[in-house]
C-alpha cells in the first residue's frame, strides 16, 4: 500500500521541470526528498497532492488513480503541510487546528473529535496556546499549529486500517532546535503507527537520521534512490551540490 508517482513529466512553458520521475511512499515508511533549489521538489510534491496535473504519467493513491478520487476523498488519504499563507481573520489556535477536519459527517469520527483535537494539541505542546489568537503567535508556533492540523486530518481510531499519508514540505523551517527534533520524533512515531511520510528536507543530516529512504533529485530527475547509507555518498553529493562534502561513519554530513 503506497502513494505512487509513475513516470511523471511536467513542463512549465518551455522549461522541463520534471522528467520521467517515479517515486513511491509506502505505509509506515519515511521517504525524504532532497536536492538543490530549483530541482523540482515542490513541483513534485504538488503533483503528488493533486494540486497540479502532470503532462504525462500517473499518480496513484493505493489502488486508485488520483483522477478517480474526488477532492474530498483525496483528503481522507493524505494531509499536507507546506508554506502557509497569511490568515486575514482572527481565528483562535484551536479553530485553526480544528480545520483539519472539514466535516466528514462520519458519526464514528465526530464523537471522538474533541478528544482528538486535545490529543494532537498535546503532542505538539500547544495545550496552553489553544485559546490564543493564531495571528499573535510567533512564526515557529504557527508552524506547529499547522502541523497539529495535519495530524488531526489524519486522525483515525486506533484500530483503523484506513490509509494515512503525510506530505510535508520543509516542516522544520522556522522552528527552534528543540522543536525541530521534537517534530521529527513525532513523525517517526507516526511512521511506527503505519502512517506513510513524504518529506522535503534541506537538512541532509535530518534526512540521514530520520528517513527510511532518501530520493535525491537534480534538474528534474531522480538521480539516486535508496537507504541513507546508499544515497549519501560524498562524490554523488559533491556533484549535485557543488560543494566539498564529507560523510562519516555515523552518516553525519558536513560541508564546511
Amino acid at each position: 500500500m503506497s502513494l505512487t508517482l509513475k513516470n511523471i513529466s511536467f513542463k512549465a512553458g518551455d522549461i522541463n521541470i520534471l522528467n520521467d520521475v517515479s517515486l513511491s511512499v509506502k505505509k509506515g515508511e519515511i521517504v525524504s526528498l532532497v536536492g538543490p533549489n530549483g530541482a523540482g521538489k515542490s513541483t513534485l510534491l504538488n503533483i503528488l497532492t493533486g494540486d497540479i496535473n502532470p503532462d504525462s504519467g500517473g499518480v496513484f493513491y493505493e489502488n486508485y488513480n488520483l483522477n478517480e478520487l474526488t477532492i474530498l476523498d483525496r483528503s481522507f488519504y493524505r494531509s499536507v503541510m507546506s508554506q502557509s499563507q497569511q490568515i486575514v481573520f482572527d481565528f483562535s489556535v484551536k479553530e485553526i487546528i480544528e480545520m483539519g477536519w472539514l466535516d466528514k459527517g462520519n458519526a464514528q469520527f465526530s464523537e471522538h473529535f474533541d478528544q482528538a483535537v486535545l490529543d494532537v494539541s498535546s503532542v505538539c505542546q500547544l495545550d496552553n496556546l489553544l485559546e490564543r489568537k493564531f495571528n499573535k503567535l510567533s512564526g515557529g508556533e504557527q508552524r506547529r499549529v499547522h502541523f497539529a492540523r495535519t495530524l488531526l486530518q489524519l486522525w483515525r481510531p486506533s484500530d483503523s486500517m484506513d490509509p494515512a499519508y503525510m506530505l510535508l514540505d520543509e516542516p522544520t523551517a522556522n522552528l527552534d532546535l528543540y522543536f525541530e527534533i521534537k517534530l521529527m520524533e513525532i513523525i517517526k512515531k507516526k511512521a511506527v503507527d503505519n502512517v506513510g511520510v513524504f518529506l522535503i528536507l534541506h537538512d541532509l543530516n535530518l534526512a540521514a537520521k530520520f528517513s527510511d529512504k532518501i530520493a535525491l533529485i537534480n534538474k528534474g530527475k531522480i538521480v539516486r534512490y535508496g537507504t541513507p547509507r546508499e544515497v549519501l555518498k560524498p562524490n554523488i553529493l559533491e556533484e549535485i551540490y557543488n560543494l566539498k562534502m564529507n560523510v562519516d561513519g555515523n552518516l553525519k554530513v558536513s560541508y564546511f
Binding site: 477532492i71 502557509s84 480545520m99 466535516d103
Partner: protein, 341 residues
C-alpha cells in the same frame, strides 16, 4: 450537512448571541410595523379594532415595505460576509465585484431612456427591477468569461475585473446623466441613493427568492469558507472543491446583490460593515458569521427604513443616505481600531 457542521463549530456564546440578534430583529420588526405616517399599530390591527382602510394600509403598504427592507438587509449582510470570506479581505463589499454597478446601469437606462426603447409598457413597473437584474447578470457573465469560469488566476483577477466593470458602468451612468432631462435626473439621483418606497407584495417575492438563495447556496458552505482562509491550496488539500466554492459564492452573491439593487437601488455599507461588527462581537467562523450578519443586517435595514420614513415626514430620506451616514464614520472607527493593533 447543516446540522453536523453548524452545531460542531459554533460556540455556546455564539448561539446565545444569535438568539439575541433574532430577538433584536423581532423587536425592530415590531417597531417598524407599528410606526409610520399613517396611524395604525399592531395592537389595533390584531385585535380587530381597526377600520378597513387601516387594515389595507397595514397589509398593502406597510408590511410589504418592512418585510422587503428586512429581506434585503439580511441578503446584503450574508453576501457581504461571504464575499469577505471568499476574497479573504475584510474590505470586500458586494459592490466590489461590479455587480451592483451593472444593476444600476440597467436601471438607469430605463429611467432615462425607458420611454424611447421599451414600447407599450410591457412589464409595467416591473421593468425597472428586470432591467437591473439584466444588468447584474451581464456583469456576472462578463466575470465568468474573463476569469474562465472563475478559476483563472484566482480572486485577485476577479477584483480587477470588478474594478473595470465599475468604471465602465460609471461611464454609462454618466452619459445617461448627461443626456437626461431634469425630472429624469431627479428620478435617477434618488434611485441611486436607495429607497424601499416602491415596495409592494409583487416585489417581495424576488426578495424571498434571494434569501432562499443565501440559505441554500451560501450558509451550508460556511465551514468551507472557514477552510478557505488558510489559502486556496490548503483548502483544496483539506477536501474543499475550491473552484466550485468560488463559483457558488460569486454567483449567489451576484444574484443577491443584483436583485437587491433592482428592488431598492444602491444601499451601501450594510454588506461591508455588518460582518465586521459581527466578527468583533462574536468571532470569525462563518457558521456564526453568516446567520449573524443576516439577522443584524435585517434589523439595521428595517430600522434605517423606519427612520427614512419618519425623520422628515411627509418627505422621505433616501435609505442609502442613512446607511452611509451611519456606516461611513463607523467604518473609519473600525479602521482606526485595526491600525492600533
Amino acid at each position: 450537512m447543516i446540522n453536523s457542521s453548524f452545531l460542531k463549530f459554533v460556540t455556546s456564546t455564539q448561539i446565545n448571541l444569535l438568539i439575541v440578534f433574532v430577538l433584536l430583529l423581532f423587536l425592530s420588526f415590531l417597531l417598524a410595523s407599528s410606526t409610520g405616517s399613517y396611524s395604525i399599530n399592531l395592537i389595533e390591527y390584531f385585535s380587530g379594532n381597526s377600520s378597513e382602510l387601516q387594515n389595507k394600509v397595514f397589509e398593502q403598504i406597510r408590511s410589504p415595505r418592512v418585510l422587503l427592507a428586512g429581506l434585503v438587509g439580511a441578503s446584503l449582510g450574508i453576501s457581504g460576509a461571504s464575499l469577505q470570506g471568499l476574497f479573504r479581505n475584510p474590505l470586500a463589499d458586494p459592490g466590489l465585484i461590479g455587480v451592483s454597478a451593472g444593476a444600476a446601469l440597467g436601471a438607469s437606462i430605463i429611467i432615462v431612456l425607458g420611454s424611447s426603447i421599451i414600447p407599450d409598457y410591457i412589464f409595467g413597473p416591473l421593468i425597472l427591477p428586470l432591467a437591473a437584474v439584466t444588468g447584474a447578470a451581464s456583469v456576472i457573465y462578463l466575470l465568468y468569461l474573463f476569469t474562465k469560469g472563475f478559476g483563472y488566476q484566482g480572486v485577485t483577477y476577479m477584483l480587477l475585473v470588478g474594478i473595470a466593470v465599475n468604471a465602465l458602468a460609471s461611464v454609462g451612468i454618466g452619459i445617461l446623466t448627461f443626456i437626461s432631462s431634469d425630472s429624469e435626473l431627479r428620478g435617477l439621483t434618488f434611485w441611486t441613493m436607495g429607497s424601499f418606497g416602491a415596495a409592494n407584495w409583487t416585489l417581495v417575492f424576488p426578495a424571498l427568492l434571494i434569501i432562499l438563495v443565501t440559505i441554500f447556496f451560501l450558509i451550508p458552505f460556511s465551514r468551507q469558507l472557514d477552510l478557505l482562509q488558510l489559502g486556496e491550496p490548503e483548502a483544496y488539500r483539506l477536501g474543499v472543491d475550491v473552484k466550485k466554492l468560488k463559483f457558488r459564492v460569486i454567483i449567489s452573491s451576484a444574484i443577491v446583490v443584483g436583485v437587491s439593487v433592482s428592488l431598492s437601488g444602491m444601499i451601501g455599507f450594510v454588506g461591508l460593515v455588518v460582518p465586521h461588527l459581527m466578527r468583533l462581537i462574536g468571532g470569525v467562523n462563518h457558521n456564526y458569521l453568516l446567520p449573524a450578519s443576516a439577522f443584524f443586517g435585517a434589523s439595521i435595514m428595517i430600522t434605517a427604513d423606519l427612520l427614512a420614513r419618519i425623520l422628515i415626514s411627509p418627505a422621505e430620506l433616501p435609505v442609502g443616505l442613512l446607511t452611509s451616514a451611519i456606516g461611513a464614520p463607523f467604518f473609519l472607527w473600525l479602521i482606526f481600531r485595526i491600525r492600533k493593533t
